[in-house]
């Protein structure tokens, strides 16, 4: 297992290098230098701030020197300071916003698993049955649903009309004065809609994958053996088949990480949640270059970590992967 982890870890390094290169190119190959754009579009930026930007990126130097400098700073996670508002270090701002975004994404991953896996199992148990056809329609709707529209509709029904759930922020007024339990309940109520919205799109895709993975597993010899032994059908489905069908889903979950992180831009903006996605949106609107570089690179690295975790989980769940890497 250690050998596998080691090998996998090393293979990530060139990708990491590529991520920094592309982030750098995005900033530098697009027309206009950041300093020019800042003077044009953001009169609030002072001469001093512009000089600092020049200093960070060394915009007067040739491109490869600039990249070298940037890479050197990147190794220590130094993306400079934000150009607007409080002008805090970029990394500090990102670190502040990260926990809430991660929480929502992990919760929605759990929700996806909890719902998509049983849907896939039941749909595969009777292909072309009523349940399978009903979920197929649901899957197609999921693929085509604009998330922000779904969020607006849910806000309207549950927030405005029924007044069951809060529609913005993370805490209600007077949150500090409440007891521990009440605080958790309040946070949960605020997170319910965002988590459901962020889970919805991936839910469709993953239940689809689960279904086709199950259909494949159910044709295997050991399933016929299990049935021939006279095991109850639900035992065959959920014990023998599902565990094997779950394997490819681990990889798919890893691949859905960038979508979830990117999606946080939408629901965090709609529900006014102070997370990474909203930070990304705000910095893009304000053309805050150091921040843009920061969230772009960190977003890609989060994806990389997600994929790595999925690979490790896969190797843990499937001994064949581990053994083969030792050969």
């Amino acid at each position: 297992m250690m050998a596998y982890l080691w090998r996998r870890g090393i293979s990530v390094l060139p990708l990491l290098f590529g991520i920094t290169l592309i982030s750098f190119l995005v900033i530098h190959l697009t027309p206009g230098t950041p300093t020019e754009m800042l003077t044009e579009l953001n009169p609030k930026v002072s001469l001093e701030a512009r000089q600092r930007l020049n200093e960070i990126y060394g915009l007067d130097q040739p491109l490869h020197v600039q990249y070298g400098r940037w890479l050197k700073r990147f190794v220590t996670f130094d993306f400079g300071r934000s150009m607007v508002g409080d002008q805090q270090p970029v990394m500090q701002k990102i670190a502040e916003r990260m926990p809430i975004t991660l929480t929502i994404n992990v919760l929605s991953l759990l929700l996806i698993l909890l719902i998509a896996v049983p849907i896939g199992v039941w749909a595969a148990a009777r292909p072309q049955g009523v349940f399978d056809q009903a979920t197929t329609i649901l899957v197609f709707l999921g693929f085509s649903m604009p998330t922000f529209w779904l969020a607006l509709l849910l806000m309207r029904w549950f927030g405005v009309q029924l007044q069951w759930l809060p529609v913005s922020g993370l805490h209600r007024i007077g949150y500090e004065a409440m007891g521990r339990g009440a605080q958790w309940v309040d946070l949960g109520r605020h997170l319910l809609l965002p988590v459901c919205v962020s889970a919805f799109t991936s839910l469709a895709g993953i239940s689809r994958y689960m279904r086709s993975s199950m259909v494949e597993v159910l044709q295997q010899d050991y399933i016929r053996t299990a049935r021939a032994k006279g095991l109850a059908e639900h035992h065959v489905l959920f014990r023998h088949a599902m565990r094997n069908a779950l394997l490819p889903i681990i990889t798919i979950l890893g691949l859905s990480v960038p979508g979830l992180i990117g999606g946080s831009v939408i629901f965090e903006t709609i529900f006014s949640i102070p997370g990474l996605g909203r930070l990304a949106f705000e910095s893009a609107m304000a053309r805050d270059y150091p921040m843009i570089m920061g969230f772009l690179t960190i977003g890609a690295i989060m994806t990389l970590i997600g994929n790595l975790l999925a690979d490790v989980a896969y190797a843990y769940a499937d001994p064949r992967i581990r053994v083969e890497s030792q050969r």
Binding site: L15, I27, L141, F148, R156, Q161, P258, G277, A284, M285
Partner: protein, 267 residues
Amino acid sequence: MKSAIFWVRLGGGFLVILAVLAVAAPLVSTHDPRAINLPEALLPPSSVHWFGTDSLGRDVFSRLLFGAQISLLIGLGAVGLTLWIGTVLGLLAGWFGGWIDAVIMRIVDIMLCFPSLFLLLAIIAMVGPSLTSIILIIGLTGWMTVTRLVRAEVLSLKEREFIQAARVLGLRAPQIMWRHLLPNALAPVLVSATLGVGTAILIESSLSFLGLGVQPPVPSWGNLLMDAKGTLGVAWWQTLFPGLAILLTVLAFTVVGEGLRDLSRRS
């Protein structure tokens, strides 16, 4: 469940009607989509304003029709660009193999690491939003799946006899790629392109909704929904109709794409 052909026809029919309505928008629309008429603000749907009016008294139905132009234009334009880049790189990677393949596929892996909305936000912040820049940016950030598809097709086609024969006959690589590989690799690519148009429309509307898409007063579907955010509790028609338009259009592209995939697998 009806046959795949049924769904392709149903979705395709919807898209044809939508395209005709979009092109004929100046003739079909009942009002000027940009005409502000404050006395008639926030009227519910009626025989005069079929889908009601927004907070500036503009006719939602007419704005939807003109919005269809924008959505289809961006969807088709972005996917055209995606196809072009993706196919060229996929052909090169699959045919030549070796370091060319390695370099192209690493770039694909790296590009796929970026959460697409983050990348889009960053580039739009640099370049500024406009119709052309949105098409370019969605196209430039979405070609990776096409490259993978084309490469996989080329790898399997490369070993087939007719390609070997073309090589033995002394045809040059560009000729083999263009005349023999491309036509045979096209089916799965077109399926993914159909699905891609739907995705591009979703991305465009999300960007417009965030205020980083096509800029108002151009009536894109995302812009319509951005306006609707302000009147959420008051004017349901402002939220419902543009959202339905996006949902149905993307659904139609998805249904057609999946149907075509079914059909191409069977044949």
